[in-house]
């Protein structure tokens, strides 16, 4: 199995068959990231598809200073942002006082009490409530294992801005999780 650069060179030399390997290698990450941002599976697949086609068309412009996946993430991110702007869909702002995070409070491991499926569902629901820029940062940092530097390349935000946004996003995510958990316990009385 060769690295991405090998196949890029092959494609630039006129053999497009190597692109299938690159698509297979990165499709899961790109689709997964797009889905976290736009939330609709059909839209996410279309965005990932268009991003790969765009990448193929502009492969000659890829300077190979960053990883191919970082470059792809950037295309997917831009596609998602322009689509979300067109649709003017934005997550509900999470400003309700009851979600406010108490700084003195220790984060609890309440999620560990749940079963894996329940835990997954709750986390995904909490992620969906975040604004799309925070959702994208959480997804890139924790789920796609991108570094802050790579996220800066993908999103165009500065590294310090990303750290601040990540801090806020993390807080909001856990506020939502805490709230969902308290709702659950009050309903089921557990």
């Amino acid at each position: 199995m060769h690295d991405d650069r090998y196949y890029i060179k092959q494609i630039l030399n006129g053999d497009s068959s190597g692109f299938a390997v690159l698509v297979d290698r990165h499709k899961k990450a790109m689709y997964s990231f797009a889905l976290k941002m736009v939330k609709v599976p059909e839209d996410a697949e279309e965005i990932a598809h268009d991003a790969f086609v765009k990448a193929y068309q502009s492969l000659g412009k890829f300077r190979q200073e960053s990883k191919f996946s970082t470059w792809l993430f950037r295309i997917v991110f831009n596609e998602c942002v322009s689509r979300l702007r067109k649709k003017k869909v934005e997550s509900i702002s999470f400003q309700d006082p009851k979600f406010q995070f108490h700084e003195a409070e220790e984060p609890v491991n309440f999620l560990k009490e749940l079963e894996a499926n329940e835990q997954k569902e709750m986390v995904l629901n909490a992620l969906e409530v975040l604004p799309y820029d925070e959702r994208s940062l959480i997804s890139l940092f924790y789920m796609q294992d991108c570094s802050v530097k790579e996220i800066a390349e993908i999103t165009g935000y500065s590294e310090s801005n990303i750290k601040v946004k990540l801090f806020r996003a993390r807080k909001r995510l856990w506020e939502k999780l805490r709230y969902s958990m308290s709702e659950k316990t009050s309903i089921y009385g557990t």
Partner: protein, 136 residues
Amino acid sequence: MVHNDKKLDELTHEILSNLDRDEPSEQFTARVMDSVHSLDLQSDKNRFRTIYWFIPVLPVLFAIFWGILRIPGIKELILKNLDYINQSFGLIGLFVRNLIKPFTTMSVSPLMLIICLSVFLFFLSELYLTYRRQHH
């Protein structure tokens, strides 16, 4: 607070990195490759269109050059002003590029370049022959 955030960071990482990645449909790669192949075909078509458009243009260009060279005294006039013409080559190049630009959606193809060079060499050889005839 810093301690709390560190803990949150660890917990978030622990939970989110364990989530399964979503997968696109099984035909995803095939669909992308279909689009890529149709793009390749489209670009071949454009290349063909470039040549296709140049076919009627070529004899017209020849006729223009031929016609100009048949004007009595034009060759002598050109030869006298070679320095000026030389300086104008930059402008001629610009003119040729703009002339062919509407016929192509891509940059100048190698074939187009060869055709333009042939026309240019023909023009130069005509000038050289006239020059030789005058001096021998």
